[in-house]
């Protein structure tokens, strides 16, 4: 409410304050409270002067109205409240006695003020509306200018871009393309816009490209990237890195599509040449081992499709000789020529790679053994014609190992090793031919390979041990005159192995030397302990000596050392030698035998009668006995079944041996009939399962203890009962 003069404020100041209170807050005026009152006081005085004026000129009050508007007293309520408060308060400033016509003057003054105010406000409103309207226009112009500049930039980008850009609608119609795209494809822009995206199919497109495209135009995805081939206008191929993006409208619905294409033809070409280098042999151009391995593994990844898979591993015979004698350039030229011939032997399902040096491999998938054999025949035939290299006319042959297996039952590594072993066999069996996979042979070879690899540490690991088989006199009552030490190998993966399974291998690898030394030392120590326990009843120790051991220059010294170490009397040791070992016409082994003989060690010929024996050596060598090979007894398992020739030979040999002062031991006695026979031909000692199987040292000790406490029949009642 306004505070009038009734509130106690007198004079113009009171009016100005009442006025300020009345209009405060009706609009914003950037004045402090004190300034506001001061401003209105000025107006109040002007109005009072108009009212008092001797010449009444209400038009001056218009200016007060105009000034109020320009001071931003522009609120909707401002004028009404102003007229209210002034109508009430201004008469108090006027002396009605002095001023005639006071009421009329007041009305006209306020009317003039209101008219001035209204005119000024109208003017200000129009001006401000114009200003804001112009501001909108300016803002829009500026925005449009920016948009235009932006459009120009994008247009320049579109036109000048190095990558090809094309815009199409959702039906695939090509609407606009940039110059880069026309250059890439060799189409003009006009030709392009006549095309549809569906005209851009290449027969070798990745299968998912068109599905991705479909998803995109249907709005199921916003973009996709791929590498895609296109035909250029001239029919050549262009490889592109393609990005297609969907542009949506304001409501998110698919609107059109933008494709960006980068020409990657050179990169793809380079990539494929790098790939070619990585997977091909630079000399012959054939696939290399890496590609072969990849193909082999791939064939295994689709086993249902390919039932059987075949490998044919080929190695040239005597290639090293050609290389060495004619030089590497000839060798290389030869390999190139051979590679060509080998490649010509392949059928559609076959594939040849160069593995290394002069080794090639064929992969056949699917395969049958018949097809592999035919392949091998073709290869041998292809190589049978001499190869002309300049002045040289070269004949080459090759060995081939064929392996054909069911994919489901093998692995790539397994197949490769089978091929290796089979090729090795072809080489060993005479070259220039092929050998097909043989399961038993391969298993045996693998076992041999495993054994030779594991043998060196097997001695240290205690995998070898000895068993002892009794040697029994065939006349007299002694249960056991000797024992033969037999080597066993408890192999961690192959199981329990007998000497026939690995001794041959140990001789090849030379492992027999340390192994033989271990056998002799172990057996001698055992024999010595029997001597200690059983005295003269302790058995003679018989130990096998391999031919290779006989060649060791210090064999005699080692035997002597072992005997000294163990304290075994040389007379209690017997060494068994094979015919082949002693019959060699070399002085070394003979000298060793003589030295051993002088030392007091007994020497016997093992497996006698199996080779083409030259009997004359028997008289020249310091041997003490023969062990007849078990094969003499194989025909005599029962009394009825007797081979007369064998028996005649046997009895002749025994007579001959006895004539030369040699004892005769019969090995492999398994039946009573055999015992009767060997006894009848005069053999001195018997050995075999009929008496006892090889057993542990403890079983021998038990036997010896038992025979010391009871008088036993020399011949056990049941075969093997003592073993």
């Amino acid at each position: 409410m306004t505070r009038g003069p009734h509130g106690g404020h007198e004079g113009p100041e009171g009016v100005a304050r009442a006025w300020a209170d009345a209009i405060a807050g009706t609009s914003f005026v950037p004045l402090k409270p004190g300034e506001l009152v001061a401003c209105l006081l000025g107006h109040t005085r002007r109005l009072a002067a108009i009212l008092h004026g001797s010449e009444f000129d209400p038009a001056q009050a218009r200016d007060v109205g105009v000034d109020l508007v320009s001071a931003h007293f522009t609120g909707a309520e401002t004028l009404g409240r102003t007229l209210d408060v002034l109508g009430e308060c201004l008469p108090l400033l006027v002396d009605a006695r002095v001023t005639p016509d006071a009421t009329r003057r007041l009305c006209r003054t306020l009317g003039a003020l209101a008219a001035g105010y209204a005119a000024a406000l109208r003017e200000a409103t129009i001006i401000e509306q114009e200003e804001i309207g112009r501001a909108v226009l300016l803002a829009r112009c500026e925005a449009e200018a920016k948009l235009l500049a932006s459009e120009k930039r994008f247009r320049a980008m579109f036109t000048e871009a190095a990558i090809g850009i094309g815009i199409g609608d959702l039906d695939g119609r090509i609407l606009e393309v940039n110059p880069a795209l026309t250059r890439m494809f060799g189409h003009s822009a006009g030709q392009f816009t006549g095309l549809n995206v569906s005209d851009m199919v290449h027969p070798d497109d990745a299968p998912d490209v068109w599905r991705l495209y479909e998803d995109l135009v249907l709005g199921r995805r916003d973009d996709f990237r791929t590498e895609k081939r296109f035909f250029r206008a001239d029919g050549s191929i262009i490889w592109t890195h393609l990005t297609v993006s969907l542009v949506r409208d304001e409501d998110g619905a698919p609107h059109y599509q933008v494709a960006m294409l980068e020409d990657v033809t050179e990169r793809v070409r380079l990539q494929s040449s790098v790939e070619h280098l990585a997977y091909h042999d630079p000399l012959t151009g054939l696939p290399n081992r890496a590609l072969f391995t990849q193909r082999l593994e791939a064939a295994f990844e689709t086993p249902i499709q390919f039932g059987r898979i075949g490998l044919c591993l080929l190695d040239l015979d005597g290639f090293k000789r050609i290389n060495d004698s004619l030089g590497h350039h000839v060798g290389d030229a030869l390999l190139v020529a051979i590679a060509e011939r080998l490649a010509s032997c392949c059928t559609a399902q076959q594939f040849v790679a160069r593995m290394s040096g002069d080794e090639f491999i064929f992969l056949a998938s699917p395969s049958t053994l018949r097809q592999l054999r035919e392949l091998a025949e073709r290869v041998l035939a292809a190589l049978s014609t001499p190869i002309s290299l300049g002045a040289h006319e070269l004949r080459v042959s090759a060995s081939l190992g064929l392996v054909d297996r069911e994919v489901a039952q093998t692995t790539p590594a397994d197949l490769m090793s089978a091929a290796d072993i089979t090729l090795y066999r072809a080489k060993r069996d005479g070259k220039g031919h092929y050998v097909a996979f043989d399961r038993e042979y391969t298993d045996r070879e693998r076992a041999r390979i495993t054994m030779s690899a594991t043998m060196p540490r097997a001695i240290d690991d205690g995998e070898f041990f000895l068993e002892y088989q009794p040697l029994v006199p065939l006349c007299g009552a002694a249960a056991m005159s000797g024992v033969e030490a037999l080597l066993r190998w408890r192999h961690p993966t192959l199981g329990l192995l007998g000497p026939d399974q690995f001794v041959g291998l140990t001789e090849e690898t030379g492992a027999i030397v340390p192994l033989g030394r271990w056998v002799l030392a172990t057996a001698c120590a055992q024999a010595r302990s029997w001597r200690a326990e059983f005295g003269d009843r302790a058995p003679l120790l018989s130990v096998n000596l391999a031919p290779r051991q006989l060649e060791e220059p210090d064999l005699v010294g080692e035997v002597a050392a072992i005997l000294a170490d163990t304290g075994l009397d040389p007379a209690h040791l017997q060494l068994e030698l094979t015919e082949q070992a002693v019959m060699r016409d070399e002085p070394g082994p003979i000298d060793a035998l003589r030295a051993l003989d002088r030392m007091g060690v007994r020497l016997v010929i093992d497996d006698f009668g199996t080779g083409y024996s030259n009997l004359s050596y028997l008289s020249r060598l310091p041997v003490h006995g023969l062990k007849l090979d078990a094969s003499f007894l194989t025909q005599i398992r029962t009394p009825e079944n007797t081979a007369h020739d064998d028996e005649l030979i046997m009895s002749t040999l025994v007579s001959l041996a006895h004539g030369l002062g040699l004892t005769v031991t019969a090995e492999g006695i398994e039946t009573r009939a055999q015992l009767v026979r060997v006894r009848s031909v005069g053999c001195d000692v018997g050995q075999g399962w009929y008496f006892a199987r090889p057993g542990t040292p403890e079983s021998i000790s038990s036997e010896l203890r038992a025979s010391s406490s009871t008088t036993r029949d020399a011949l056990p009642a049941e075969p093997g009962a003592a073993g």
Partner: protein, 267 residues
């Protein structure tokens, strides 16, 4: 409004906070949509014009205070339509050499400001988003008029309640703070729900119709914006309570003026 300003579609078919504010202050720099919205707001909240005037009065007092503290350069962000009582008028009245850079996101407000300020070498207008700190501080106008190695008054008056929580206004404030020289001042006024929570909710709902929806903040939230500043007495208070003019009668119910005001000095 796109942040890159690339839209030819200058919106005057939607109310604009700057033009609605002008209407509250008694101006005619507004369109029917603005007035319609302002009237709806006033119907709901009759004191609104007074609140806006109180805000404008706070701006004046704050600028005068800053000039009194020796500040001669100002960065007024969210300056809106320059009607009456603009920062440069207030500042230059006390210090004729005072320089002011106005910043607003509203292209119409910017165009209008440029018209009005054309020829005034000590003022300039930047069209930028408060949140795009680099665009504001990196503008040619700031480089031309302000020496940021010296104290500056940064005014965020009736601005931050238009910045939603997601946009993290505090982080932007911190970035301005980090470029301000020690001795600079930050001026903030901010709508709050404190005192009148129900009305505040309705008011926020109304402002969702504009291109600048509203987020009210509590006294503590406003105080938190001054991290790194020392609040000048009397701290965070309702608009009329901040250093009222001498012989000014502060309203007996200042919470009706649902805006908080505060000034801080960078330490």
């Amino acid at each position: 409004m796109r942040s890159d300003g690339l839209s030819a579609d200058v919106e005057y078919d939607r109310p604009s906070a700057a033009r609605v504010y002008d209407y509250y202050l008694g101006g005619s720099h507004n369109f029917a949509v603005d007035r319609e919205m302002a009237r709806a707001a006033i119907a709901m909240w009759p004191e609104l014009p007074q609140i806006m005037q109180a805000n404008r009065a706070f701006l004046r007092r704050a600028v005068e205070f800053l000039v009194g503290q020796g500040i001669t350069q100002f960065l007024d962000i969210g300056s809106g339509i320059p009607t009456v009582g603009n920062v440069h008028e207030v500042a230059q009245a006390a210090e004729p050499d005072a320089r002011v850079v106005y910043v607003d996101i509203d292209p119409v407000a910017v165009a209008h400001s440029r018209e009005i300020l054309a020829g005034d070498e000590r003022t300039a207008v930047v069209h930028a988003d408060f949140l795009d700190v680099d665009a504001v501080l990196g503008s040619a106008e700031v480089a031309r008029l302000l020496d940021l190695s010296q104290p500056v008054g940064v005014l965020l008056v009736a601005l931050l309640h238009f910045v939603p929580v997601d946009a993290d206004p505090a982080a932007a404030v911190a970035r301005y703070r980090d470029t301000m020289a020690a001795g600079s001042y930050l001026v903030v006024s901010h709508a709050t729900q404190e005192g009148q929570p129900r009305r505040a909710d309705e008011h926020q709902a109304l402002y969702r119709r504009t291109s600048t929806p509203m987020t009210m903040r509590s006294r503590a939230e406003v105080a938190a914006l001054f991290t790194g500043f020392d609040l000048v007495a009397p701290g965070v208070v309702f608009l009329p309570q901040w250093r009222p003019d001498r012989d000014e009668v502060v309203d007996d119910r200042p919470e009706r003026f649902t805006g908080l005001a505060a000034v801080g000095r960078k330490n």
